[in-house]
Amino acid sequence: MTDSHFCGSPEHRISRRGWLGTTAAAGTALAADMTFLDVLQSPALASELQTRQKRVILLWLAGGASQFETWDPKPGRPTGGPFAKIQTSVPGIEISELMPKMSTRLHQHTSLIRSLNTRIADHGTAYNLMLTGRVGEPGVDFPDMGAVLAHELGQIDSEVPDYVSMYTSTEGRRKGKAGFLGARYNPMFLTDQMTPENIGKLDSISSVDHRDRAALRQLLAKRFSSDRPSPSVASHNTAYERVRGLMASEKLFDIDQEPRSVRNAYGPTQFGEQCLIARRLVEAGVPFVKVARAWWDSHGQNFETHLELCADLDHCMSALLDDLQQRGMLEDTLVITLGEFGRTPNINGSLGRDHFARAWSCSLSGCGIKPGTVYGKTDEDGNTVVDGEIGAGDLFATIFKALGIDYHKEYMLGSRPIPIADFGAKPVEEILA
């Protein structure tokens, strides 16, 4: 059971003992709490971690960002809007002028997909589609991307959360779900504040008492389990360790632990702070972190909205990729930029763009991705996909393959096999490293 949650490749199999040994050898006092994770600011240790396990950060553009104002500009066309396109660091590839920082990083980190045709253009249904990779069906509670990747990339005895989801805005807020994978893979869901609630130690218990109680429980549990080896006893003990780990993970969410220079690099906005928290979490071993930036649903004043939000996205995404790269983590961390759909080619009477799912874009950066590539093409006005059309299932297959996960893998729901990527889904090989 303990081996069932790795991506499969021996080099990425987590050896918790090895990890603990490494840090212990470094002379770090591994206290029972998780404050030791801050030693991961050491580049050497961060590098050690990155060779072992893959991580995912999903930048969720809730409400639906415009492909015209991000990855697939059409300047000069009636649908193109007022923004120019700019040359990226990859000859022949141009993106919107609203993404200047990403334009200089494309060759290093990022691949663009410009040919999503997901057809569904209402928020709720499209959200489910793009976060489960398939159209829902009655009677089956499909897990979302975070739960599946937590299941595939996480470790059963992890002391950090497997799936953290940040969604501050109230519009379009959905918690995410583990579905048939079970509550173990539900997200730690952060909304109004970025520090998890109810994980702190009670003030009435001193730190010494807290540690002593844990030590006593461990002693008794060890004595009990030595005579009674069984999975259920082991699971019981693991649950205690996990709760203790979660209780001590508060500092992971505290960006004041970071040097001022790092915080400045992410900028002053809440999205920037959350991207920094995401980096801290994956660095500490959290396999999946979703940072939702809402709300892009620009039915009115699309251009004003994107002037505001793209500046934030461009800066924070660039800072995140730079930071991951500098720490040697980007090779094993996949950063996905995705929403539930794109925006219409037509510019409406409020200078807005409405929901549009027939020809839109997303980006993948880092782990398993061939940087500086563009897959797919839309017509000159962005109305239809003319080359390389893919759906949500194909995108999921691509994500799984980039992470080294067999996208043909099946979960068993009773006697029914459920493939982790939808039936018939194929990865986009052209953008995979």
Partner: protein, 335 residues
Amino acid sequence: MPDPKQLKRTHAWRTPNILFSLTRVPDSERVIVGSSDFQINELDLAVEKPEPIPFVGSGHTSYVTGLALLGDTLVSAAYDGQLLFWSRETREQQKAVAAHQKWIRQLVASPDGQRVYTVADDMLCKAWNVGSGEAIATFTGHELLTPQGYPSMLYAVAVSADGKHLATGDRVGHVAIWDTESFEQIAELETPGMYTWDPKQRRHSTGGIRSLAFSPDGKQLAVGGVGRIGNIDHLDGPARLEIFDWQAGQRLHELENSKRKGLIEKIIWSPAADWILTMGGDHKGFLTFFDLQSGELLHQDGNDGHIHDGVADDACENIYVAAHQRLERWTIANS
């Protein structure tokens, strides 16, 4: 005297593009419009089916958001940051100036026709010599970022009828008033109700000060925008107008109208300053008149397209409107 209650739309012409800016050729039925196809065209509205006559040159590379006709010289501004100078007679481009680093939002001419003033998202207002095309002065003071750390925008500019004062207004509701000779700021006003930052549901904003206009005597300043928006996915907020005795820093009127919602994009004072006309919209357009004594709504009408710009003739009897895929003429009959 033109009676706002006698407002009537007399003509509407459909256009394939969104019209963002408009200026009128004096003593004629001819107008010049700037649009979303980056082009500038002149139209004679005296004929049944006006044919657009293009201005020719390297042109703009984004939406044309400002036009001013000064004698034979047409000056245009656009989101591409360029200021272009054209001969109206030949309709050929004569000069191009890289005026701003970011979008130029508005352009206004001084009453003597010697200068134009531009405001842009680099948060600068600049004064330009129309004859030479050179910058005379730069007005600084609007913050680059909003309090939440996002880029701000400098949307609106107006000059007083005597040319002595200039007003600029930004996204967060800050107004600066400048002396056009010393180029120094002489007053400032705050209109926080124009800033529509939604801190909880959607975490962005869409409003800001979109229009400014001095009263004919220059003593009052009208500030237009949108009020608190419930759902900022749309322009779902009341059209908002504030009027100040700007020298005293006193707010005289704070007016909102929710029957016809959205941004106030243009403000026109009546010659006698007894009423004021606001134009703009959400997905549709509005023309709304307020009585300046009582602050009461005098009259209101609308059209099918958000109004981006408008001009009146000297007597305020004819109103020319640039809107979403339409050009319109409205008349205000005398009472």
